[in-house]
């Protein structure tokens, strides 16, 4: 059971999405943001926008994945941004000034929401005690956040699903030809059947780009319905994986559901948040892999654009090339 009332949790979540939106636009389109804020005349402002954008993405990861108390990190951020904006405002004239005023007003509004939400996390934790934003309370909250974000977390279970315009038979067969898996699983280099239902996997560890190899045993194989495998003891990859194929209603093809269990992750919550920001969290990977599976089985190839030449990959969303032909 959560210690917070649902309103506080929802407010923290909402602020998480606000951070995500701000962070995404600041890192993807810093020029647009600086223009809106009336500070497009300064190269430093553009750089700062990117930096602050990265910070916003951290807030987002924290608030969306962690406890509502992480809203205090937003309050700390506001305390840095507001003075900077006020200074910028003072130095601008004309329409730039108007835009800076509007931007500052918007940030002030969000700050109010941050502080209020932060205050709620405190007062709910300390019912009966004197709540409110005191230095003491801020410190305790920060400590609590630290306690929760370090250390290890338990095994991670990941699920993803996609509907493909193909029959369960075709979907199952495509998947059961294990040499197809590296074609849509981004980090998998090869999957080699070694007899007796043994599969030898070779893959790259996403963040550290380290090569890994492990063996898995197929534990269940029901034609056109299910394939499940389990890593042999001491393996490095997911400890369990399964893919289910169900007929989608009304001739819509097949519902494909994938499950993966990762062993205990020593990186802990912070590691997971970093992976998420890099677009390499296990659930993001699973979703990307299924989207690519859909492209392969429906059209026979991975769809590439000049902005995303590698095709669908969450990591690439943050690293778009300009939409113009690749240099030859």
């Amino acid at each position: 059971m959560s210690k917070y009332d649902p309103t506080t949790e929802r407010m923290a979540q909402t602020l998480g999405y606000v951070s995500l939106g701000l962070g995404a636009s600041m890192t993807l389109a810093p020029r647009v943001v600086t223009t809106l804020a009336g500070v497009d005349d300064s190269a430093l402002a553009r750089l700062m926008t990117r930096v602050v954008g990265m910070r916003e993405l951290m807030h987002a990861a924290g608030l969306l994945a962690g406890p509502p108390e992480l809203v205090w990190t937003r309050v700390a951020g506001d305390a840095m941004d507001l003075p900077a904006l006020l200074i910028a405002m003072g130095n601008r004239h004309g329409t730039r000034r108007l835009r800076a005023v509007l931007a500052t007003a918007a940030v002030a509004g969000i700050t109010a929401a941050d502080v209020y939400t932060a205050w709620r996390t405190l007062s709910e934790r300390r019912q009966g005690e004197r709540g409110g934003v005191t230095a003491d309370n801020v410190y305790t909250a920060m400590r609590r956040v630290q306690d929760r974000t370090s250390g290890s977390v338990g095994p991670k279970h990941v699920e993803a699903a996609v509907t493909v315009n193909r029959s369960p038979e075709e979907s199952y067969q495509f998947w059961h030809d294990f040499s197809n898996l590296p074609r849509f699983m981004i980090h998998v280099d090869s999957v080699e059947p070694r007899g007796d239902g043994m599969l030898h996997w070779r893959a790259e560890e996403p963040l550290r780009h380290k090569r890994m190899e492990w063996d898995a045993q197929i534990v269940e194989d029901r034609p056109n319905e299910l394939i499940a495998w389990r890593s042999v003891d001491g393996a490095v990859g997911p400890s369990m994986g399964a893919v289910h194929f169900d007929t989608a209603p009304g001739g819509r093809g097949t519902e494909v559901r994938m499950e993966l269990d990762y062993p205990e992750s020593p990186a802990g919550r912070v590691g997971m948040a970093v992976a998420k920001l890099a677009g390499e969290a296990p659930d993001q990977q699973a979703r990307d892999d299924l989207r690519r599976f859909k492209q392969l089985i429906e059209i026979g190839e991975i769809v590439r654009s000049e902005g995303s030449p590698e095709g669908t990959h969450t990591r690439q969303l943050l690293r778009q090339r300009p939409a113009q032909p690749l240099p030859s």
Binding site: V32, R304, T314
Partner: protein, 390 residues
């Protein structure tokens, strides 16, 4: 090659960029013979569609000659003359097979960004932000056309570019806007926005049997064009109260169908109202200014249809939900499923039902695109529709 690139808010530049190459087996490379500037491009130009990057090539209305094809493109030969539809669609997913090409499930490699903003992702679009795929557009000398086996239509006779170019977008878009109204005998259709898209919606409403069509805008030169080229009645919203006038013209019923061909950057005759939404939009408290859609809902007859083809990007404020719900209105929307309309509308052009070149007001060289954008945005020189030649 030369290409017209987005370089920031209110700024485009013709740059020298690499020539496109085949990236997928379903691609074709097209040498562009003509392209056009669209009202949708103005939303990018004015900075209201997020996830643009500096040096993105713009343009989604283009045609030309096939100069290279990938291995999976069996229907096109080098040398074929083709018009390219603006939504990029695979033709094989469930949405494509239901004819919802602009909702293709496979053509947006950046679907993740679109999902964050819209819940689910629509198709990729040429030259229309990274959220919609990061594909270069066709205001250029060459373009890579994905799924060339599905989208482009071959024009095998000498019919001039100007008559078929708009099959790429605005003719099908206007037509779909009118088709979504399910026009029945006796129906009165009102169209907000008399830009090229509105003009095609008006012409199409007549083709589909509307009794009367009323075009609404504030630029007299556009209203005059509508009256002369389509025979529709017109209202200048700066001179009359649109709601009053429509009631009066329909003896109190209101139009049976209302088409919004304005979209997210609509304008209001009252400066205070305009300033209210303009400010909220500048502060990103709403992303879209919804005057036209608000008015279209309030004007529509009970039980009528509001057809939205003007483009919106995100959130609107003060949306008249009560009017919509209590009066049994139907809302229909969409980026146009162009692939669905190209063949039947080409037939209509060949039959002489319509000559789409009537919207063209300016022809320019691709290298003049920057001044073309300014002129089209500011509605200078009676600018209606600009065609660019590379």
């Amino acid at each position: 090659m030369k290409a017209n690139c987005w370089t920031g808010i209110s700024s485009v530049e013709v740059e020298e960029v690499p020539d496109p190459k085949i990236l997928n087996e379903h691609d074709a490379i097209v040498r562009i013979t003509s392209s056009a500037i669209c009202g949708s491009d103005l939303h990018l130009y004015n900075g209201f569609i997020p996830t643009m990057k500096k040096h993105d090539i713009l343009g989604h209305e283009f045609m030309g000659e096939v100069v290279d094809v990938g291995r999976e493109v069996g229907n096109l030969n080098i040398g074929d003359r083709v018009v390219v539809p603006f939504p990029i669609a695979c033709g094989r997913c469930n949405s494509c097979q239901r004819g919802l090409y602009s909702c293709c499930e496979n053509s947006n490699p950046n679907a993740g960004i679109a999902e964050m903003m819209m819940g689910h992702s629509p198709s990729g679009i040429f030259g229309y932000s990274h959220m919609l795929g990061g594909y270069p557009g066709g205001q250029a000398q060459y373009a890579r056309v994905p799924f060339a086996d599905v989208g482009p239509i071959v024009i095998d006779d000498g019919i001039p570019d100007e008559q078929v170019l708009f099959l790429s977008d605005i003719f099908p878009t206007g037509y779909m806007g009118a088709e979504m109204c399910d026009i029945k005998p006796g129906d009165v259709v009102a169209v907000w926005g008399c830009g090229p898209v509105g003009q095609f919606a008006i012409a199409s409403a007549f083709l589909l049997g509307a009794e009367r069509v009323i075009g609404i805008d504030r630029f007299d030169y556009r209203l005059r064009r509508v009256r002369e080229k389509t025979g529709a009645e017109v209202l200048n919203y700066e001179q009359v109260s649109v709601l009053e006038a429509l009631k009066e013209m329909t003896a109190g019923r209101g139009p049976d169908a209302c088409i919004d061909a304005v979209g997210m950057e609509s304008h209001h005759a009252n400066p205070a109202m305009y300033a209210y939404d303009r400010t909220k939009q500048a502060a990103r408290l709403e992303t879209d200014r919804p005057f036209a859609i608000r008015e279209a809902i309030l004007a529509c007859a009970n039980g009528g249809t509001v057809s939205v083809i003007g483009v919106y990007g995100g959130l609107v404020d003060k949306f008249p939900m009560g009017s919509l719900m209590n009066r049994s209105l139907t809302v229909r929307t969409g980026q146009c499923h162009v692939q669905r309309y190209m063949k039947p509308l080409l037939d209509r052009i060949r039959n002489g039902d319509i000559d789409p070149s009537f919207v063209i007001s300016h022809k320019m060289s691709l290298s003049d695109a920057p001044s073309g954008y300014r002129m089209f945005r500011d509605k200078q020189d009676d600018c209606n529709k600009i065609v660019l030649y590379p």
